[in-house]
């Protein structure tokens, strides 16, 4: 194929965005645009929540009103978030179902297109599907239920396990953490709740899928995962939204707690459409000998600010973050990771990979902190970026060490695809596009190899699609 015959440049990801379809809006309740105390009260009343949760929401609402927007990061984009132009709560027509057949037709159609029931049948232990503000479908395989694993949507968990929820809710990410965490705390709806009992190992992953369908919608799910002593769980989340001309907001809060000796892996493939602001707060706590792994892929959204954090609170705890980002035209992926070593002999490893292409911008923002007296901590950070076209790539790592026995290393590189690599492959008969795709897939390989195979294949396909024609 000659250069002129090449596929056209990716003008707008929305043109190629496979999940950009929309279905007709049918809702039981849709709050007016903008946020008031009445809306917060109404959400709580709809859900028939206990008094403490209403108090929690109101406290958060007041904090949200008072708190300023973050003054760092891409403030230009941040300040375009119009809080008055968002529907904060949309309830789909029917309550959530345990049988796929009972899910309303339009919603079923949506998730069928996304392939959710299919993957569930194939290899998942359980699935939650959230549509707008509410979970519409939820199931967990019987054999896992028998082991005592609790996998519920957050609203049901609050009803069925009130003490457990009250004990941990908001303990990892307090209301005042940041403006968007406060907003989520005020209007949260849906999300997953997972409790894995002592010593139980969930061999197949649990999955949640989040879908925004309405225009100018705000989705504020709240996820809480607790892995009791010696347990092991893998949770996967995916997300998408239709393409609209005006913007939607996704401000989730995810709290993850790994008790003594537990292991939690949290994988995300964020593939929101190009008109979604994805401003998410994710944080985990790892106690003695526990391991928390964030595997975080960011492909979609107009603007992402996401820095999964891990507080290593117990001795020998381990943190692992694997983060990849692909910023295409008009996208800004501001992602990264934070690890705080708050106990001795803790270790952490961060690998960040990003590609920016077209007019996109990819930023890595990280923070490693080792507190005084926390002996023999080790941390290794590695950021690699590939840069194409008229895009921009930034790295903002921060390292703070208050303990002399620490060993910390950080490395970052930014470059385009090396010509000798291209030459090597092209001299063996590959076209420039094929060679570039191969190099890019290899670049993301540390990430994809950590995903279940079905996801890895889909991820590579998405990356190839977005990179089409942008090289050479």
């Amino acid at each position: 194929m000659s250069k002129d015959e090449k596929k056209p440049n990716v003008k707008s990801i929305s043109e190629e965005y496979k999940y950009g379809f929309k279905t007709k809006e049918k809702y039981k309740f849709k709050s007016d645009k903008g946020l008031t105390e009445e809306i917060v009260r109404a959400i709580s009343e709809f859900k028939k929540e206990p008094e403490w949760m209403l108090e929690f929401r109101l406290k958060a609402y007041r904090a949200f009103k008072k708190m300023p927007m973050p003054w760092w990061g891409n403030t230009e984009l941040l300040n375009t978030v119009d809080f008055e132009n968002i529907h904060y709560y949309i309830k789909p027509e029917k309550d959530h179902k345990k049988s796929w057949d009972d899910v309303p037709e339009e919603i079923k159609e949506t998730f069928d297109k996304l392939g959710i029931p299919e993957v569930e049948r194939k290899f998942l232990a359980g699935v939650t599907a959230q549509y707008e503000s509410e979970v519409v479908y939820h199931s967990i395989k019987k054999e896992f239920e028998k082991l005592g694993i609790v996998f519920l949507d957050m609203d049901s968990a609050l009803k069925e396990y009130p003490d457990l929820v009250k004990k941990y809710f908001g303990t990892v990410i307090p209301i005042h953490d940041n403006k968007f965490a406060a907003l989520n705390s005020a209007v949260w709806s849906g999300g997953s709740f997972i409790y894995v009992p002592k010593g139980v190992k969930v061999e197949t992953p649990l999955q949640a899928y989040f879908r925004i369908n309405a225009q100018n919608m705000g989705q504020f799910e709240r996820t809480l995962i607790i892995a009791d002593e010696g347990s092991d769980v893998h949770y996967i989340e995916g997300c998408s939204a239709p393409v609209y001309s005006s913007d939607s907001l996704h401000a989730a809060v995810v709290e993850v707690i790994a008790l003594k000796g537990a292991r939690i892996r949290y994988s995300t493939i964020q593939n929101w459409s190009n008109n979604v602001y994805n401003l998410v707060t994710k944080r985990a706590v790892a106690y003695e000998n526990a391991t928390v792994e964030w595997v975080d892929g960011n492909i979609g959204a107009k603007f992402t600010m996401k820095y999964p954090a891990i507080f290593l609170k117990g001795e020998n705890a381990h943190a692992e973050v694997l983060s990849v980002a692909l910023a295409g035209d008009d996208q800004h992926q501001d992602s990264g990771a934070k690890v705080f070593h708050l106990a001795p002999n803790t270790t952490s490893r961060i690998v960040s990979k990003s590609i920016s292409t077209g007019t996109g911008r990819a930023s890595y923002r990280g923070w490693i902190k080792v507190n005084k007296g926390m002996k023999n901590c080790k941390s290794d950070v590695r950021c690699d970026a590939l840069i194409f076209g008229k895009s921009r790539s930034d790295t903002y790592p921060r390292m703070e060490v208050y303990e002399p026995t620490t060993k910390l290393t950080h490395e970052a590189t930014v470059s385009k695809i090396q010509e000798d690599q291209l030459f090597y492959l092209m001299s063996r008969g590959l076209s420039e596009d094929e060679a570039s795709t191969m190099i890019i897939n290899g670049f993301f390989e540390p990430f994809t190899k950590e995903l279940p195979m079905e996801y890895a294949v889909e991820f590579n396909r998405l990356v190839s699609m977005e990179m089409e024609g942008s090289i050479g």
Partner: protein, 353 residues
């Protein structure tokens, strides 16, 4: 030609969002300084500082037009120096008396095809405040080699800032040794045009409660430019070393090579190090990297030396000296010896060797 440093692409506040200097530390510094009656302006601002945290205070500063700059403009002295001869070599030894305040801006121009070597030793004595701004204009094909030693005494306050404007194919190398026991802020901004090259080597050897806060930014505006920024920091007692760096590659900065390296050696439980090396790249045709490490002594290194009959403190001094000798390997031999003598003396003090 007027020196023009372009606006900084990073938001001012981003440089400081993580850093706080405790209020009592600022008060401590101010308490000891005796300002001249005529520096009313400074006094006014000094009062303000006392009530604000350091970070907040800096958030409002435009680096090129901040209060320290204004201090120079209003009460300081200007000096203009121009080198027109092919080779120049200047050595200065500068002592600021105890309790005195001095603000000075010095504009240097190195004419095309000239080479200048400038070596300056700054020693502000106890309780003094030294506020220095150097503007270096290095013209086409010219070369500047700058060797600086900062050795402030306890409770002195030292603001040392250099701006470099490198025109086509100009070259600048900066070797900076920071031994001060004071609160020190070091800023280096460099602006690189086509084919320019900027190399910077800074070593901080800090003990007691000295606080060194370094900011550097290299802006690559022309193609084929190159920068290499290296930092080595050794902290003992209650010393603090902060490094905040940015390599910025403009859209026009085709075929740029830019590298930063930082090694932080933390020797005591009370000392600490913070590194914030940043990259902002707007052109795909680049080779950029940065690396940072933070650690103390490696056990095998100490074991290797002590097993050969060397005392532990001697061994530690040898290791540190090794890092430093290697770090300054690119210096001119004559000046290197002068630098290393200072370093070795200070290392001896740190390790009690």
């Amino acid at each position: 030609m007027e020196i023009e440093i372009k606006n900084y692409p990073t938001k001012k506040s981003e440089d400081w969002r993580y850093f706080n200097l405790p209020e009592e530390k600022i008060k401590e510094i101010l308490k000891y300084s005796e300002f001249d009656n005529e520096t009313v302006f400074f006094k006014k601002l000094a009062e303000k500082i006392e009530h604000k945290k350091y970070s907040e205070f800096f958030k409002e500063i435009d680096y090129q037009n901040d209060f320290f700059k204004n201090l120079i403009l209003e009460y300081g002295k200007f000096e203009k120096v121009q080198f027109e001869e092919e080779e120049n070599s200047i050595n200065e030894y500068f002592i600021l008396e105890s309790g005195k305040v001095l603000s000075r801006q010095i504009d240097f121009t190195v004419k095309p095809n000239c080479k200048t070597v400038l070596t300056i030793f700054f020693k502000p004595l106890e309780n003094s405040f030294l506020n220095i701004l150097f503007n270096f204009l290095v013209m086409e094909n010219a070369e500047l080699r700058l060797n600086i030693i900062l050795d402030g005494e306890e409770n002195s306050l030292l603001f040392f800032r250099t701006n470099h404007k490198l025109l086509e194919n100009a070259k600048a190398s900066v070797f900076l040794l920071q031994l001060a026991n004071s609160f020190t802020r070091i800023e280096t901004m460099s602006n690189l045009e086509k084919g320019a090259e900027f190399n910077r080597y800074q070593t901080n050897i800090l003990n007691n409660s000295s606080f060194t806060d370094t900011l550097f930014k290299a802006f690559h505006y022309g193609e084929n430019s190159k920068s290499e920024i290296n930092n080595l920091s050794i902290t003992q007692d209650k010393a603090t070393s902060i490094l905040n760096g940015l390599l910025f590659i403009d859209e026009k900065g085709k075929n740029t090579k830019a590298f930063q390296n930082a090694r932080n050696i933390i020797l005591s439980e009370e000392s600490y190090s913070v590194s914030y090396p940043q990259l902002e790249i707007l052109n795909p045709d680049v080779e950029c990297s940065h690396g940072t490490s933070m650690h103390s002594f490696e056990e095998p290194q100490i074991f290797y030396l002590t097993s050969r009959g060397i005392e532990e403190k001697e061994a530690k001094a040898m290791i540190l000296n090794g890092y430093i000798d290697f770090f300054f390997k690119n210096m001119d031999n004559k000046i290197k010896k002068y630098f290393l003598d200072f370093c070795h003396k200070k290392i001896k003090e740190l390790t009690n060797a």
